[in-house]
């Protein structure tokens, strides 16, 4: 079976029970994506497939043959950090760091979703052409990534700095409070 991971092709055979997460970690020695809950609740395993974020723990690897898979190792490296990685360091967007690769992959894809004009549940009007990255929107769109250390304030600041907070206006949720 053929896989494209972080720009390089690789061929390997494996039991169809293998999750994409286990394939990346156990067979390809890419230890960035983490196994947290292993049931799609925490987001530590988030990777990008054709630029879109998914939970690799819930993904059977066989379904992702020939797709472009990107892990945190494909986003940046020591000395050539992705701007969001540098911002996480700058803003203390982590304590233990376990959720960080998932947070960063997730946020990179979130920025692309915003560019494509994908609405969220807190968007005032789902028919709008584009959506500002308010703090409400950011928190809603990142809700699939948990941080047990509670470094959320730093995470939010790092994402805002990297992708630009376009408005501080109140969304649906703030207005309701």
């Amino acid at each position: 079976m053929h896989f494209v991971v972080n720009g390089g092709g690789v061929d390997l055979e494996f039991d169809p029970r293998t999750s994409l997460l286990d394939l990346l970690r156990e067979r390809l020695q890419l230890f960035g994506a983490k196994k947290g809950c292993n049931q799609g609740a925490c987001g530590a395993c988030t990777v990008l497939v054709d630029g879109e974020r998914i939970n690799s723990c819930l993904a059977l690897a066989v379904q992702y043959q020939d797709r472009e898979i990107t892990t945190i190792e494909g986003l940046g490296a020591p000395g050539t950090l992705h701007p969001l990685q540098a911002a996480f360091v700058e803003h203390d967007g982590f304590q233990c760091g376990y959720c960080t690769p998932g947070q960063i992959c997730s946020a990179v894809a979130m920025a692309e979703e915003l560019k494509r004009g994908v609405p969220s549940y807190v968007s005032d009007d789902v028919t709008a052409a584009d959506f500002a990255l308010t703090r409400d929107e950011l928190r809603e769109r990142m809700s699939g990534n948990l941080c047990r250390c509670g470094a959320y304030n730093g995470i939010v600041e790092a994402i805002e700095e990297t992708f630009g907070i376009t408005s501080t206006g109140s969304g649906k949720r703030e207005a309701a409070e």
Partner: protein, 329 residues
């Protein structure tokens, strides 16, 4: 996880031929099925990947939309036609799960996802859905998330989908294909109430495959909404959710649609409330009376009695807000 064989279906006929074999399961995004297989609650010996089969959103001859069963949840919610013409559906999808899961989950798989009742997942607990005849530990257990409408002594589980609640309100139709041909099932008839056989959750026959969901032309844009009440602000299943649409003319209810989520074994179309409202005054007391009529048959469990009042208040408030909207098209 038990061993299984994986096949990617090249076309619907190939999928149906494989699906006719005992022990076969169709595979969508896998976000629920893979988890259930890991817990050995589901034990298929063959997985037929149908994600490549029907991935288009197309106009129908009746000016509705036909959404292929393989279309990802995010793609539906982001689709310009869905957002403009069926905004309630986009909202409902976006209320469910996380962005990661919505990128994986398919239209068909969303409808077939199974309850998140913790006793269903816990193999040390009694569950009639997992082990028919074993009994139900939820009835006397922690049942905050469980049903208040249409439940039975055998099962008080709820259907977890948000998307299906909006589809119920929109009169969507599920297109199904089997070895003997095609048929169309209204979404409101697709899922079953538990009665004495809670292990049978839909009207699908063995081997039948969902190929699409069709939306009728009426989408209630500008006069509909989806609201979800849950224990945390995001990424949690509903305690109560409501999809509602309202059309008022000269103070009179012309059209109304109400469906509830998180309250029953299926998306609950509030036909009693709708019948009570139609042709009557569009006023807060009328909305409240209709919601009360719908919930007259509701039965609370030890931890979820609050849901009866919560559902009544959410339905009433949504109708009040929809009736106050100006400039509705």
């Amino acid at each position: 996880m038990n061993p299984f064989t994986y096949e990617r279906a090249s076309d619907p006929q190939a999928a149906l031929a494989l699906g006719a074999r005992a022990g076969t399961k169709y595979l969508g995004g896998g976000t629920n099925l893979v988890d259930l297989m890991r817990e050995t609650i589901e034990r298929p010996n063959l997985l037929v990947d149908v994600t490549g089969l029907s991935c288009a959103i197309e106009e129908t001859e009746e000016d509705g939309l036909r959404i292929g069963a393989g279309v990802k949840n995010t793609a539906v919610a982001a689709d310009r036609r869905v957002r403009d013409r069926y905004p309630m559906l986009a909202q409902a999808i976006l209320a469910g799960a996380s962005a990661q899961i919505r990128n994986m989950a398919t239209m068909g798989g969303n409808l077939l996802q199974r309850t998140r009742c913790t006793y269903f997942y816990d193999d040390a607990a009694r569950c009639n859905k997992r082990n028919p005849g074993a009994g139900c530990d939820a009835v006397e257990g922690f049942n905050r998330y469980h049903a208040i409408l249409g439940a039975s002594s055998a099962c008080v589980a709820t259907h977890p989908s948000d998307m299906a609640v909006a589809l119920a309100a929109l009169d969507a139709v599920v297109a199904v294909e089997g070895q003997t041909g095609r048929r169309e099932v209204p979404l409101t008839d697709f899922h079953r109430l538990p009665s004495e056989t809670p292990q049978i959750e839909t009207v699908l026959e063995p081997g039948e495959l969902i190929t699409a969901v069709t939306l009728p032309p009426e989408g209630f844009a500008g006069r509909s909404s989806y609201r979800k009440v849950r224990d945390r602000a995001s990424y949690a299943f509903a305690l109560v959710s409501v999809a509602a649409a309202l059309e008022v003319e000269d103070g009179t209810v012309k059209k109304v649609r109400i469906a509830l989520g998180g309250v029953a074994h299926k998306p609950w179309r509030a036909t009693t409330a709708e019948a009570a409202l139609k042709g009557g005054p569009a006023t807060e007391p009328a909305f409240r009376a209709a919601a009360e009529a719908e919930l007259a048959s509701a039965r609370g469990l030890s931890h979820n009695v609050f849901k009866i009042d919560l559902a009544r208040r959410v339905v009433t408030d949504m109708l009040v807000k929809l009736s106050a909207q100006k400039g509705v098209i």
